[in-house]
Symmetry: C2
Subunit: 110 residues, 2 copies
DNA sequence: AATCAATATCGTAATATTGCAATATTAAAT
DNA sequence: ATTTAATATTGCAATATTACGATATTGATT
């Protein structure tokens, strides 16, 4: 064991879990926020923005890319990473839906 | 190594990472969705709703509680777990902010 | 062609997560 | 007081994550 049983859950549940898991590290949150802040998507200086070694940053970028949160293309000796809007909008939509359900319920216990 | 360097990131980044990390497993997404679906917060049958053994479910509930996504009180020989609205609203607000920034930018590369 | 600058990959150690059987706890029901 | 039902904890094995030094790759620059 130790391997997540994804096959027992719905596609949507797995999809949300994949996205949130990818964001479940402060360095990756910081990367996304940095990409939001800068204008362009040519972000060769991400490493300098983070308190982590270059291979570590590279690995975090890879995970964000695997999860579909960022897109990247090789551009000469630097890299063009940018946010995948659709992935973040999926999260936004999801949590907006959750919030709406909470509003509709107005649970008053605990 | 292997331990996340939380001290190098902002409180907000760590906070968002903690919440998203807690949601970063399909079973925990399923638990939150189940709590949203049922009317009451007395949820003694969560175990039956999931394809996992009872100790595993209990552990996932513990993680959700540690992250602040759910609140729970012992109620006799069953348990009253319910959603912590504030935590989910924090996520909703966060992703709404992200989405707003994306709208404002309209990046057209990648 | 040799060097440089930027990023990726490999290898490895430390730590964390996932899952469950076995067992413990707890309070209600008999 | 025993039993029952529900949840928690312990202990352990399998796997995953995090981090980084060393090295490789890649394309631009000289």
């Amino acid at each position: 064991m130790g391997a997540t049983k994804t096959e027992h859950f719905t596609d949507k549940q797995n999809s949300i879990a994949t996205l949130t898991k990818a964001l479940g590290h402060p360095a990756r949150v910081a990367i996304i926020e940095y990409l939001l802040k800068v204008d362009a998507c040519i972000c060769g200086d991400i490493v300098n923005e983070l308190p982590l070694a270059q291979p570590t940053v590279s690995q975090h970028l890879k995970e964000l890319k695997n999860a579909g949160l960022i897109q990247g293309e090789i551009e000469g000796n630097s890299i063009c990473y940018c946010i995948n809007e659709k992935a973040l909008q999926k999260l936004q939509t999801y949590f907006a839906g959750v919030s709406a359900k909470l509003e509709a319920k107005k649970l008053n216990c605990c």
